[in-house]
Amino acid sequence: MKILLSSLTAVIALAAVFASVSILSQPTPAFASGGLEIGATAENFSLPDVDGKTQTLNSLKGKNGTLVVWLSAQCPVVKGYKDRINEIAAEYQAKGINFVGINSNSTEDLNWVKSNIAEFGYKFPVLIDKGNVLADKWGATVTPEVYYFNAKNVLLYHGAIDNDRSGRNVTEGYLKAAFTESLGGKAVSKAKANAFGCSIKRVGE
């Protein structure tokens, strides 16, 4: 029995080692990585809005936090999310969470971004991240991609808005759940989620 137990322990230990090696041995990604981790505090940033006026994270944040969402004028996935983004923004800006859009796509010029804001009806500022500096710093790679900070700029949630691009079969509203938990004084239970979307078109790509 003792031999059996020790063999079992050895097998489990070996499996754990293999699992960790498998994660550690992943290749270095060929794109910006790292970025802002959950629980990290975002440094204040300054970026121009579409009218050329400089805006900062600290000047735009809400009393209950900030939602920063990476957008694109050309991405069909963002188009599919525009109504949900606007609905969530209307609901939670009223609860003290301000929304800030960021466009880092090198392929989308200012006029395109401006007309897209009007077409999609965003009621929050959209900032231009020329040279994808902020996207690189935070590790943003896809649109739409959201970063939710509390009032102290601590990152509480990062990733997808929900689990269905089409909007027809949403079963997990990741972002709204994070808002609800955080505003209710609870820790965010799912702080990160991914979803397929458009890659940010970085300078030089």
Binding site: I23, S25, Q26, P27, P29, A30, F31, S33, Q74, P76, V77, G139, A140, T141, V142, T143, E145, G159, A160, N163, S166, Y174, A193, N194, A195, F196, G197, C198, S199, I200, K201, R202, E205
Partner: protein, 184 residues
Amino acid sequence: MKAAAIFAAFILCFSFVGMGQKKRPAARKAAAKPAPQYAIKVKLVDEVALKKVMVPSGKPLLVNFWATWCDPCREEFPDLVKIDQQYKGKIDFITVSLDEVENISTTVPKFLTAMKSEMPPYLLKATDESTFIASIAKDWQGGMPFTALYSATGELVYYREGKVILDTLHSELNKVIPAASAEK
């Protein structure tokens, strides 16, 4: 009385035929333009089935995640078809579409046919997209296109979120292909 009943039934019968005929032009129109059939058949998979397909069988495996709605995916596809032709027999290469399931017999094979793609095509309908994405590469947020290269032993040796850089991909391919058959 009997004659009147037969007459009424006759009229009723014709009125039904007439109703049916009203729909005919549309039906004939639809019949005249059947949905195009493509020789390329795209296989629908969930993440469990796809993970099984993504286990290399003796050769390095290249996997490209794409969608018809993704501009850079479509832009890079001709290069991927060339890669497939160039490394045929030396690697396995599959494509995984993230289009909606309703496009599996329409826009997806239409595009693959236009590209003259010969890579086995799959369409992923994941039950848990977030977990699947994280399981492929720890830094992948889900941006597309996404291309992953596995060695013959199944180790993820290279991945790229965004359009592939051809020189880099060739270099990575040649690292995992046995020296005797590597591309010069």
